[in-house]
Symmetry: C2
Subunit: 255 residues, 2 copies
């Protein structure tokens, strides 16, 4: 089977966290943005927006919300993808159509989908052009403050934040679980202890995992590193509350 | 600027709704699934699952939930991407880690993101291999019934459903709004009436739009076609309710 260049790009994806001091020129950025805008969208409504951050002052303002991860300031460009029903609602408003149809969770789900398709297209395009990037999960944390700083109106919520630049070096491929782990024929086949052991065997015995456990002596295994330190219940519940509040404030959930 | 093969694939995306009678062989499907599993994921938790539908009986069972759109039965393969925290929770369970940390909306948002990155990667891979596909928005409608038929356990919710096959013909590119419509420098720049008119000018004056309006004589413009017929407030609010109920039932929102 021939592995074409697109598959090669996809298979060789790695997150890049360090960028050389080289700007992303407008021509390159335009190709990335065009790719972002070329994907499927719900009913061709195109329910997303892209905020381009290049200004150092804006990066500095946003950095604390990304817990000061260096990528949030060192990358020449940051793309923030937003679920956006505002533009379509404005279109309805100025065409004398119902502007209340999309103030609900269904509309939010559609706009999230459109925004994430656009984001992933941008990523694939960027990688094909020799750029590196990393998704900052922190965009899902203090959503309310991102809304504030990026001046997002009602019906706009950020869902992906992706710093991009030319890599200092291309890191080794991330260790992933085997593909079979994720694939279910016809119906879902649940994971019992034996299957979990099989799926995680290679990952748990890797040098990377051993290194992580050495740094976390209070944890017996990788699962505990996640639940005790990385993504804890109190943190997740707090930020889930912020997200729910923001969905109300931005008009996707009615009180 | 050189348009590489990956950008060509991305720029030339079209939704394909009619498939020739040719199966997708396992080798090809494996490449698509591998691409799906190669994308970024939250903290490398890989919070998604893929249900592969090839069985005619399963397609027939699911078809009414897709309002009997022909693609739901005529495509040789249908891939349903699910936001999935079940597998990770099971991993936590069998490693004596907290299994309650991811029963919240924050966890759902992460898993949705992972599932949609995987879905879009699968789409790009499929298109690079000469296949065609279309996203079925209907997956976001009767979510509860998809959960039932696909036998999805708690913490698993379907978010994308993509029939794939070899196209009868490659349709013309879909008309999209200009790229500038979606791009905001540094902060969001809101859409007033003039800007909406500019963004929609080309689309509203197209033959396609004229055709749609001829079929909907009760509508003055495209916006009204959407709010009166395609995606109406009562429908959207109904299905938003189903989604919210399903989030509770699947354990992502506590009552």
């Amino acid at each position: 089977m021939n592995i074409n260049p697109t598959l090669e790009t996809l298979f060789n994806h790695v997150s890049v966290r360090e960028y050389i001091d080289r700007p992303v020129n407008n021509e390159t950025l335009d190709l990335i943005l065009k790719a972002a805008c070329s994907g499927s969208t719900m009913g061709n409504m195109q329910l997303f927006s892209i905020i381009v951050t290049r200004d150092a002052e804006m990066k500095a303002k946003l950095a604390p919300l990304h817990f000061n991860q260096p990528m949030a300031t060192s990358a020449p460009v940051i793309l923030t993808f937003c679920a956006d029903f505002r533009r379509f609602n404005q279109y309805c408003r100025f065409r004398n159509a119902n502007t209340e149809a999309y103030s609900n969770l269904q509309a939010y789900q559609w706009a999230v989908t459109d925004a994430l398709i656009a984001a992933q297209n941008a990523c694939v395009a960027a990688e094909s052009l020799g750029l590196g990037f990393v998704w900052l999960g922190t965009i899902t944390y203090n959503v309310d403050q991102f809304v504030e700083i990026l001046q997002l109106p009602d019906h706009v919520i950020p869902v992906a934040c992706i710093p991009m630049g030319y890599p200092v070096q291309k890191p080794a491929l991330t260790q992933k679980l085997p593909v079979e782990t994720f694939v279910h024929q016809e119906v879902y086949h649940d994971y019992n202890e034996q299957r979990i052991n099989e799926c995680y065997r290679e990952k748990e015995s890797s040098e990377e995992t051993k290194g992580i456990l050495a740094e976390n002596p209070d944890c017996d295994n990788l699962a505990q590193v996640f639940t005790k330190h990385r993504y804890t219940q109190p943190d997740n519940e707090h930020f889930a509350g912020v997200l729910a509040e923001t969905l109300v404030r931005q008009g996707f959930i009615r009180r």
